[in-house]
């Protein structure tokens, strides 16, 4: 059966629930990347993100009736499952940051765009990016997911509110707090090497 590329997610899900593998594959390909990026940015680990994506879509295979189209789009439902899995993953993990998903690791995460900048410039850029990543990963969960959705995924406040199942005002205030926290953390992270060097 030929499937229209614009077919709605809930229609595809119904077909998938009846055993239409093509519908399921299309549904997966349409939604996997955003869920993977969310999980990757939340956990900082490519293997964890892979596991989370698999869990999310496995839930869709096993319990498609859990999705209620009247409560929101399928993407929000998938984000909801992913958030739960991320929380479980973070509860299991020791409190440390992983810089695993920087360029080249596992060949999955970053696409490097070559330009004419010098190696020193690149090194500085990487260092700054690592600092920002570490600062994001050190945020409390509710602030971290707000930053990931609004700043990294560039969702609107309304979209983020749908995913996070909270009012738009809450998203706004969390983002405001997150920025203040990030500034403080970055200050701390960037000054740490200087303080360490000053000690010698």
């Amino acid at each position: 059966m030929q499937i229209e590329s614009q077919e709605r997610d809930d229609v595809l899900l119904k077909r998938s629930a009846k055993g239409d593998e093509e519908a399921f594959t299309l549904l997966y390909r349409r939604n996997q990347a955003q869920i993977y990026r969310f999980a990757l940015r939340m956990t900082g680990r490519a293997w964890a993100a892979e596991e989370i994506v698999q869990d999310v879509f496995m839930t869709l295979v096993r319990e498609p009736k859990k999705f209620d189209p009247t409560r929101g789009p399928l993407a929000a439902f998938l984000y909801g499952i992913a958030r739960n899995r991320v929380m479980k993953h973070l509860e299991r993990q020791p409190r440390e940051f992983s810089l695993e998903y920087r360029s080249g690791d596992n060949g999955t995460s970053e696409i490097e765009v070559p330009d004419e900048r010098t190696p020193a410039h690149w090194a500085e850029l990487h260092e700054r990016r690592d600092c920002v990543r570490a600062a994001v990963l050190s945020l409390p969960l509710e602030f971290r997911e707000t930053v990931v959705l609004c700043e990294l995924e560039e969702m609107s406040y309304e979209e983020a509110a749908t995913v996070l199942q909270c009012p738009v005002g809450t998203v706004r205030s969390r983002l405001h707090r997150s920025r203040a926290l990030l500034l403080a953390k970055l200050e701390m992270l960037r000054n740490a090497p200087k303080r360490a060097n000053a000690g010698y």
């Binding site: 295979v61 096993r62 970053e110 920002v132 994001v136 995924e153 405001h176």
Partner: protein, 210 residues
């Protein structure tokens, strides 16, 4: 606008390159600390955007799709098998019910036959007086007609047997029949209809051997 107000309102609306309100912009010009904070915030937003772009192309490895599709196939194959098993189960149950109902009907019919028997193998005629047995007993002209022996139940069972015996007419008295004493010594052939217990239920006179 003071610094606290600027932090509360200005940072929240830091999406633009400049604060949205005139009061915030005015505060920025007059307060170097808030201006520095604002600069750092814009820098942070730029860095976050860079970080976002760095992972924009990130996607799940293809092995996950393969695993999921395999799971999908397995699951739906199992579901189909389960559906078939359910259908087969229901069909079996329905067949059993039909058989049970059929058996019940047959059983009830048999019960009814026992209550109101019809003499299938032979027919029994009423006792009538006749000249051959001294005006007391007479066999029906039809060979298959039997007369009930007094005291025998009118119902005949399905499984009966006919036995031909030769006896003195007087011996019929033992079966409860009245016999003319003058002919008691005559030898007669009698067909006896026996039930499953071997008890005579009816008789007919085959022929007289006199």
């Amino acid at each position: 606008m003071n610094c606290e107000e600027f932090v509360n309102s200005g940072l929240a609306s830091a999406a633009a390159a400049e604060p949205e309100t005139a009061a915030a912009r005015e505060h920025l010009r007059t307060c170097p600390e808030c201006a520095a904070l604002y600069e750092r915030l814009l820098e942070l937003r730029g860095e976050l955007r860079e970080l976002g772009k760095a992972t924009t192309q990130a996607a799940t490895p293809s092995r996950v799709e393969m695993r999921l599709r395999q799971e999908f196939r397995t699951r739906h194959k199992t579901d189909k098998n389960r559906d078939r098993a359910v259908v087969a189960g229901w069909m079996l149950a329905a067949t059993t019910m039909v058989l049970a109902a059929g058996s019940m009907v047959v059983w009830q019919q048999r019960q009814g036959n026992h209550m109101n028997p019809t003499p299938a193998p032979v027919s029994v005629s009423a006792v009538a007086n006749g000249p051959e047995l001294g005006g007391t007993l007479i066999a029906a002209s039809d060979d298959e007609q039997f007369a009930l022996i007094p005291g025998a139940l009118p119902g005949l069972q399905d499984e009966t047997s006919v036995v031909r015996v030769q006896m003195q007419r007087g011996a019929l008295g033992a079966l409860g029949l009245s016999v003319n004493d003058e002919q008691a010594s005559d030898i007669v052939q009698v067909d006896l209809l026996l039930d499953t217990d071997g008890q005579p239920q009816a008789y007919r006179l085959a022929e007289s051997t006199d």
